[in-house]
């Protein structure tokens, strides 16, 4: 008896779990026929409840918190983005250390191209999935590279890292053997150029399509967009941008170790994006400033506890800071300005 009821329970669960649209439609038909047969109709209360459920379903309000808040410009949420960052860094590092090519004008394109190609290859695998699975596959791809970098000791130096990466030469205005300050200015200029390019891309028809892809991929396809191709190109572009970042990072740090393209760095980047707010292009920059600043300050006091504090910040941001810091700062700015205005008046 007991076994029987358990079996029934399992059966009922199975039926519930595998309910499909077609089955729902079937049920609709059955209900409708019964209604017609008996001359019944919905009570106002029942109809209201059904309506509420439907509205919840259609507006997708029941979805998880993460699903709603963590979506990047293209609607894709990669966790393995540092793979491209690391590829860029290693490309530049290897060219400088092993082949003694130090010209920035060769290193930067090499980093961008190699990272872009890697992006394309990874995209072919990762774009077969969506949502959470997509994040996990990108993470796995990233781990693949980390393992490769760890094991291939002859080339990458393994866990000891690629040591002694110099600063690149610019070869114009006699700017060779850059010191810390002039290299900082170079990084700033490259960042500004990247920022400008990203801004243009987001405002362009291509960027608009990526934003549309974030909202509703199916609808976009019905407007004539090959959504797969768009995501693929977006992957390559993102790889390129991460590549140039890696090239600069390798020189700043002087050392490339496999951990630089590991999951922790990836999560750190995602945290920067969430912290700053992903809907405004300036957001991630602000997030990066806040996170890097915090890291410096916290490391002064408890270097061992930094990951713990980082995790706490991550949780708090996801729970309480809708859309990151930037929207709040913009609101605050507006309020201050309004305050000034009313004071003057």
């Amino acid at each position: 008896m007991c076994l029987r009821s358990l079996k029934d329970k399992i059966e009922a669960k199975r039926v519930l779990v595998c309910s499909t649209r077609a089955m729902e439609k079937n049920i609709d038909i059955v209900i409708e026929r019964r209604f017609k047969k008996h001359g019944m109709s919905w009570t106002t209360k029942g109809a209201n409840n059904l309506l509420k459920l439907r509205i919840l379903c259609y507006t997708k309000n029941y979805g998880g918190i993460l699903d709603k808040r963590v979506k990047l410009w293209g609607g894709l949420f990669p966790l393995g983005h540092t793979a491209f960052f690391g590829i860029g860094g290693y490309t530049a590092g290897l060219l400088m250390v092993r082949l003694h090519i130090t010209s920035f004008w060769l290193l930067a394109p090499a980093g961008i191209v190699v990272a872009g190609i890697t992006g394309g290859l990874f995209a072919i695998i990762a774009l077969r999935s969506k949502g959470l699975l997509f994040s996990i596959i990108t993470m796995a791809e990233c781990q693949l590279l980390v393992t490769a970098a760890t094991r291939w000791t002859d080339v990458t130096g393994g866990d000891n890292g690629l040591i002694g990466i110099p600063k690149p030469d610019l070869n114009i205005f006699g700017l060779n053997n850059l010191n810390q300050t002039s290299f900082y200015i170079l990084v700033l200029i490259v960042t500004l150029i990247c920022y400008f390019l990203m801004y243009r891309i987001i405002k362009s028809p291509f960027g608009l399509a990526l934003q549309g892809n974030r909202d509703d991929e199916g609808r976009l396809a019905h407007l004539g967009y090959n959504t797969w191709l768009f995501k693929f190109i977006a992957f390559i572009i993102a790889g390129g941008f991460a590549g140039i970042a890696g090239v600069l990072f390798a020189s700043v740090n002087g050392v490339m170790v496999p951990a630089h393209m590991g999951v922790v760095t990836s999560v750190l980047a995602v945290l920067m994006i969430i912290m700053g707010g992903n809907r405004i292009i300036f957001g991630p920059v602000l997030g990066a400033v806040v996170v890097a600043g915090l890291e410096n300050v916290v490391s002064l006091y408890t270097p061992q506890r930094w990951p713990l504090i980082l995790g706490c910040i991550f949780v708090v941001t996801v729970m309480f800071l809708r859309g990151g810091l930037t929207p709040y700062l913009i609101k605050l700015w507006g309020r201050i300005n309004l305050g000034h205005g009313s004071n003057k008046a």
Partner: protein, 248 residues
């Protein structure tokens, strides 16, 4: 010329057969309504026509070209465009951006990365025309999720009109609109160019008899009747099954 031709079209989800052996053709410029009770297969038919999923068996021809195996975006480039029963617009883009996105969809400018989306003069003019046509000009700077339901329905139709289709598929276009808005919709559809082939699924008989020159009745996956609105109105089978039995 035949705009759409269906040959022995069937669709089944596992054991449940939703459409069975449907064959019919639509001439260019014809306005066809698909009616039928809930679950009759209207939306499935439109989904197959627009390439949402392929048919289980049978073929779909669009202007003589076999499109039954093509992907969704390829259908659009073959001149098809659709709207959805459940409004699907881009919530986080403004109304204007929604329309620009739809207008870029069929042009090569959609791959353009460094010019602004609103820097194309001919596309801007088109967008303004569409906004004017559908009375959306006042809300053009508002985000998709902050406009009223009626405006969302209008935007949905504007999106499907924006890709300059030769065949327009509308799935329950007036679902959830009030009487005045329905009248507005009927006159709007009547004013759209005469060459446009229109296939729409609807429950509202005013809309069906107001727009359609031909009505197709589906009943649980099979063909029940096909004819002018008057013929359908007087068809005893349709009256019995779709509109309910006459009380003696």
């Amino acid at each position: 010329m035949e705009a759409i031709k269906l040959e022995g079209l069937s669709k089944s989800y596992g054991a449940l057969s939703v459409l069975e052996n449907i064959s019919f053709s639509v001439q260019e410029g014809e306005r066809v309504a698909i009616i039928g009770p809930n679950g009759a297969g209207k939306t499935t038919l439109i989904n197959i026509l627009s390439g949402e999923f392929p048919p289980t068996s049978g073929k779909v021809y669009c202007f003589g070209k076999d499109i039954s195996k093509l992907l969704r975006y390829q259908h659009v480039h073959d001149g098809m465009s659709r709207s959805f029963q459940i409004t699907r617009i881009f919530d986080n883009l403004t109304v204007m951006q929604n329309i620009l996105l739809a207008l870029h969809g069929k042009r090569s400018s959609r791959y353009q990365m460094l010019t602004r989306a609103n820097a194309y003069r001919n596309i801007n003019t088109k967008a303004e025309e569409l906004l004017g046509l559908l009375n959306l000009w006042a809300v053009r700077e508002k985000k998709g999720n902050s406009i009223s339901y009626g405006d969302k329905r209008k935007l949905e139709i504007a999106l499907s009109l924006a890709s300059e289709p030769r065949i327009l598929l509308l799935d329950e276009p007036t679902c959830g609109l009030d009487v005045g808005e329905i009248d507005g919709f009927i006159s709007l559809i009547k004013n759209i160019s005469k060459n446009l082939t229109l296939v729409f699924a609807a429950h509202d008989m005013d809309v069906v008899f107001g727009i359609a020159k031909r009505v197709v009745v589906l009943y649980y996956g099979s063909f029940l009747a096909d004819g002018t609105p008057d013929e359908i109105r007087n068809n005893p089978k349709v009256l019995e099954i779709y509109l309910g039995k006459k009380e003696e």
